[in-house]
């Protein structure tokens, strides 16, 4: 056991502010955006390979994920009626600004693609929209890593290398999982492969994060966020193993898919709450900064 580091503070009060982003709005948006983004990629693959059943499901998931996610994002604003102010400037220094310019076209394109797919109208325009959604999908699923990392919250900022991969993996496993849940097994092969690959990326990124960050990663391992992260890892691992070994059982496939979706939700809550915990404790602000100063003094 590493001894608790000694540090000074102002009556034990936190130094940085706790993020004001609301629960469950923001963790659910993180989940929905990730699932929708990866679903749009699956949908385009399904369209290219003529997998109509999978295409229909994934287009619907992409469009509804983006739509519901946008509602959560707008609801999170202190002044929701001003949500369009997000689009009055574009700033590469603000992942939220960049993200707005990813989410807005993604929502429009994925909705158009889903509408065309379901109604059968304007098939060519629908496909074109689907291609566009697939192009915006991966950025949508991963920019949220920079969104959290571009803050002074130690558990988020220091994880800026791993968070985009963690969210890419979590989004892929959620999109694959949702498709496994909603698609008969004879059509869900690609979804299963995406789910398994996503799970592998997610578990690896999560492990790397904890190893590289040292004491700053404590919030991911302790208390409620720690329990959430462990639960998510176990669910992901279990569902992945069962899904890899299981045959063509629709029920088992659906249960694995649902577990992966749930695990992605839990992961986002875990990461989000770990950030809140790391902001509330001055230890995570002071001790790494002191170590940085000491290292600088040595050189």
């Amino acid at each position: 056991m590493v001894p608790e580091p000694e540090f000074e503070s102002y009556y034990g009060r936190q130094i940085i502010k706790t993020p004001t982003w609301k629960t469950p709005d923001v963790p659910l948006y993180l989940f929905l955006g990730g699932m929708a983004g990866a679903s749009a990629v699956l949908a385009e693959g399904a369209a290219l390979t003529g997998n109509v059943v999978l295409e229909r499901v994934t287009r619907l998931v992409a469009a509804s994920g983006a739509g519901v996610g946008t509602v959560f994002l707008v609801h999170d604003l202190g002044r929701p009626e001003r949500f369009l102010h997000m689009l009055r400037v574009i700033k590469p220094t603000s992942p939220l600004s960049v993200g707005s310019f990813i989410l807005a076209p993604f929502s429009a394109l994925s909705s158009a693609a889903a509408a065309s797919c379901l109604t059968g109208r304007l098939p060519r325009l629908g496909r074109l929209a689907g291609l566009g959604a697939a192009a915006f999908g991966p950025p949508l699923a991963t920019y949220t890593g920079a969104l959290l990392a571009n803050t002074a919250v130690p558990a988020w900022h220091e994880a800026h290398r791993e968070l985009p991969f963690l969210f890419a993996g979590s989004g892929a496993s959620a999109a694959g999982g949702m498709a496994l849940l909603l698609t008969p097994v004879q059509h869900s092969g690609p979804a299963r492969r995406m789910a398994i690959a996503g799970a592998a990326i997610e578990l690896t990124a999560s492990e790397l994060l904890k190893r590289r960050l040292g004491m700053v990663a404590e919030p991911y391992e302790r208390g409620r966020p720690g329990r959430l992260m462990r639960l998510a890892s176990r669910m992901t691992l279990g569902a992945t193993v069962v899904s890899t070994l299981s045959g063509r059982s629709r029920a088992v496939s659906a249960i694995c898919g649902a577990t992966l979706v749930a695990s992605s939700v839990v992961t986002r809550f875990g990461v989000f709450e770990a950030g809140l915990a790391s902001a509330r404790d001055p230890k995570y602000t002071v001790v790494p900064q002191r170590e940085r100063m000491a290292a600088r003094a040595r050189t």
């Binding site: 130094i15 700033k91 002074a152």
Partner: protein
């Protein structure tokens, strides 16, 4: 787009102003702060900032607690125990880190600190029995960073750099997204709950436009809060530290005055008598956007990986 990190001598020019005012700021010399909170009151009055709750903390005389959406000046009261007088070797000064700062003392007129058993000139200390408390007071404020994370991350453009080099929120633009709140390495800006928008110190932008001194600096009775051109204030601060060091106050140090620090230096900086974290300040803040390049690079790599996973999922056997 301005620079994200490192030394920047003309922050206002970097923000796009061609012909601009000199950069204005605060030098808060906490060695002469008496904790009167006139700055807090003057700020509230001038800027019509609503109340921030009427809580009694029980931790010290500080019931304001922290900077926030409705607290743009915050006077910290540090009560720090110092070593007992008896524990010191008699020939050594009991507390070598403090000296006479020329402030009114604690006792009645004619009261001699030597006879009371207290160290000479221990004006920020009080003692009872065998121990003592060292008082540190400091009026905290928005630092108006050279590289301001709040401004960088603001997605609406509500936060902007003024012609005075300060950082100000435009309330008619802010949509309360809250990104600036966790971005600030000092924990200054916050959302006002019943309003939904973010607020912080404007360095009295309206008064500056009229060539006036910000309300807090004008109200400060001991000139602990000094307002002026940042370049000149930095020089003044260096002289003050040298003066205090000459008097034996070795603990005096500047905080936020170094243009080579993690935020490119603060427009509002401080003279402190202890470590920054004792006052609730981060010891080595770094603007989060220093790592922006790395963040976008990793987002790009992760997005490519996700696209590759998508392609790979459709390769191989079909079923």
């Amino acid at each position: 787009m301005g620079s994200l990190w490192g030394r920047l001598d003309d922050v206002t020019g970097d923000a796009g102003y061609v012909d601009h005012e000199p950069r204005m700021g605060f030098f808060t010399d906490t060695s002469v702060c008496i904790g009167c909170k006139a700055c807090e009151v003057a700020c509230k009055e001038w800027n019509q900032v609503p109340d921030d709750g009427f809580e009694l903390t029980g931790m010290s005389y500080d019931n304001t607690q922290a900077l926030g959406a409705s607290t743009w000046r915050h006077v910290a009261f540090v009560e720090k125990p110092f070593e007992t007088v008896a524990a010191q070797p008699p020939q050594e000064p009991p507390h070598p880190t403090t000296t006479d700062l020329g402030l009114p003392g604690m006792g009645p007129p004619g009261w001699d600190t030597h006879e009371s058993g207290l160290p000479s000139g221990e004006d920020q200390a009080t003692a009872s029995g065998d121990g003592g408390i060292r008082w540190l007071m400091s009026s905290d404020v928005c630092k108006h960073c050279t590289h301001a994370a709040c401004l960088d991350v603001c997605p609406t453009g509500s936060l902007f750099r003024t012609e005075f080099g300060t950082v100000v929120v435009q309330p008619d633009i802010c949509n309360g997204c809250g990104y600036c709140v966790p971005a600030c390495p000092y924990g200054v800006i916050d959302l006002r709950e019943d309003d939904g928008r973010a607020f912080k110190c404007t360095l009295c932008y309206d008064r500056l436009k009229d060539g006036q001194t910000p309300a807090c600096a004008q109200a400060c009775p001991t000139e602990s809060i000094q307002f002026g051109e940042v370049g000149e204030l930095r020089e003044r601060a260096r002289l003050r530290v040298a003066e205090l060091h000459d008097k034996g106050v070795d603990v005096a140090r500047l905080y936020g005055a170094d243009p080579d620090d993690g935020v490119g230096g603060d427009g509002a900086f401080f003279l402190l008598l202890d470590e920054p974290e004792v006052y609730g300040l981060p010891p080595d803040p770094v603007v989060t956007t220093r790592d922006l390049g790395s963040m976008w690079k990793h987002v790009g790599a992760a997005a490519s990986a996700l696209a590759a996973v998508g392609v790979a999922s459709f390769l191989g056997r079909r079923r």
